[in-house]
């Protein structure tokens, strides 16, 4: 590994750890670093700060890391697969599928058992089912269509259909249900409690392992599907695995946090620019660190105003200028 990459990796790792600690310390109640150390390393520390730290801020910070890393890795895979630098994990309709599932539960709640709807699991199960259904359809189509661009368009169309169905549902729903749904679309990192983490973490772990397993093939795909075939890569199988990994990463995160826009599209560009490479062996760990850092920064920013901002708006405020910059630079 070149020394430049090594230095970057070290700095990014320190940055991520630093931001993680800052994210723990920051909030409506300031918790000092020594208190954080106390809570983690001295057994028996109790009190309100310990409660906030262990049961609220720690899972939130871990979620930020997982979400930032997952969405960025999914984004990187999509950009390589479609050879389009504006592709992102939601391009295959993952978030629209999840939205549809959530909208169905929230707005058609009257037919479901109350206990189920009021528990957080209802939304998560609905989001996972919604995202999976769209993904299964896209995977099915991926065996039929022979080029990535057609697959991209099909994914967009499924997304549009799901989006329209959500609009239809909204049309027939009461304002309270709509407000609840709109709140979900804002995204939230604090919704992931320890019990949810037990599900989210393995899902992300499997998705990440698949992505790292695919890194050599992803490099081959940079040359386009025909050249990749010439290098001995099975395109159908690889595309299938990429879609599944993306579904696990983006679908899993979206189910638990709501849609978080722009991270997936923006981070791979930042990483490519920083590390000056397109090789996935470097880029995959790079986007993990960059994505985790960015979402930690976003989470810290959401805490600055007295009333917490939705994470989706903050990440979009960061992401949109980056996309504009990419377009201007590409001209």
């Amino acid at each position: 590994m070149k020394s430049r990459s090594l230095i970057l990796f070290l700095s990014l790792s320190f940055l991520t750890v630093g931001l993680f600690l800052a994210d723990l310390a920051w909030g409506s109640i300031h918790i000092s670093l020594s208190e954080i150390v106390d809570v983690f390393f001295r057994k028996g520390a109790e009190g309100i700060n310990s409660e906030i730290l262990l049961n609220f801020r720690l899972p939130k910070a871990i979620t930020a890391v997982l979400a930032g890393a997952s969405l960025s890795v999914a984004g990187l895979m999509m950009q390589t697969l479609f050879r389009n630098s504006l592709a992102d994990p939601y391009i295959l309709g993952v978030s629209s599928g999840a939205s549809l599932g959530v909208a169905l539960v929230m707005m058609a709640a009257s037919v479901l058992p109350v206990a189920f709807v009021s528990s957080g699991w209802a939304l998560i199960v609905a989001a996972i089912i919604g995202a999976s259904v769209v993904l299964v359809l896209v995977v099915g189509v991926s065996f039929k269509v022979h080029n990535a661009v057609s697959l991209l368009i099909v994914g967009l169309m499924f997304g549009t259909i799901a989006g329209s169905l959500v609009s239809v549902l909204q049309n027939f729903s009461n304002p309270d249900a709509i407000k609840l749904f709109v709140m979900w679309t804002f995204g939230s990192l604090s919704a992931v409690t320890w019990s949810y983490m037990q599900v989210l973490f393995p899902v992300v772990l499997v998705g990440m392992s698949m992505a790292f397993f695919l890194q050599k093939r992803l490099d081959g795909l940079l040359l386009g599907e025909n050249y990749a075939r010439g290098l001995g890569i099975s395109i159908q199988q690889t595309r299938f695995l990429i879609v599944i990994a993306t579904g696990l990463l983006a679908g899993g995160i979206t189910a638990f946090t709501g849609p978080i826009a722009f991270v997936g599209v923006a981070i791979p560009h930042i990483a490519r620019g920083l590390f000056r490479t397109s090789g996935h062996r470097i880029l995959l760990p790079a986007v993990v660190l960059c994505g985790a850092s960015l979402l930690l920064i976003c989470d810290i920013i959401t805490q600055i105003p007295t009333y917490t901002l939705p994470i989706n708006t903050v990440s979009a405020l960061f992401g949109a200028p980056i996309i504009i910059w990419i377009i201007l630079k590409k001209r």
Binding site: L222, L231, I233, R281
Partner: protein, 327 residues
Amino acid sequence: MSILTTQQLTIGYSRKGKTDVIQSGLDLKLRAGELVCLIGPNGSGKSTLLRTLTGLQKPLSGKTLIDGKEIIKLKQLEKALLIALVLTERIEIENATVYNLVSLGRHPHSNWWGNITDEEDAIIREAIEMVHLSHKMHQNINELSDGERQRAMIAKALAQDTPIIMLDEPTAHLDLPNRVEIMLLLHRLAHKTDKAILLSTHELDLALQAADRIWLMSADKGVECGVPEDLVFNGSFNRAFESKAYYFNASNGNFSMNYPMTKKVWVSGDKTRMYWTFRALARAGYAVMQDAGVQIEVTEAGWLLNGITISTVETLLHELNQQFVDI
């Protein structure tokens, strides 16, 4: 020794029960250490043949055998160890150097993690050296000229270390010096590395000069194979590219246009100058004949027409025009 052979190969497309046969009954042989150029008019099926030989497309009937193994039955990875491809599509990779690009050629050989060992590194460097790009090894591929980029793609194919390399129109989009250079490079590589190199091209004159063997495709007359000169002598070229507007000129290996030539002149003198004079005269509609009434003599300084010395072709054509108007 032939590496790749086809047996009664029929190529074409089959969709929804409708078959569209493009070429049938092909018995082709590709030998190690030879540069073979696949030429033929548009629509004669050059791309379809290449796609079929590489196993990207199924033949309608017949077989393609490499080392006795049927290509269509091989796994993707096994094919990648036998045939390396250079395609027409332009590749766009951000931040990739020539070295990065060529190292992708090692893909079928490396382990799943894709480490570049010292041995791999040596092969990659050698491939880059063979296409004379060592001085640009760490340059971004987006900063290369079209010719250099094509050479980098050839290096990638070399790094793949296969007995066969197939190239789809490798000289398209290049200017003349680069086209000549790529052809010479491929010719040299075939002989030096003992690989079989098959390429499709529109560059008839280049193919005639560089190819050890030509596969000449025509829309309805199948594929004729042979050493270029043999195909010239037996009139295959003329038959493959038959047209009213031009003809294959066996005296110089080019296509010449069939101009209507009605006015007769005779030219004598220095060879080089005469060649270009003939061209200009043909374009203007003059047939060069020995018993013609108008005589032109080529001299050191220009042309001698009816005792007048003329220094440019433009004036010559003008003067000739005057003569024939007067007649």
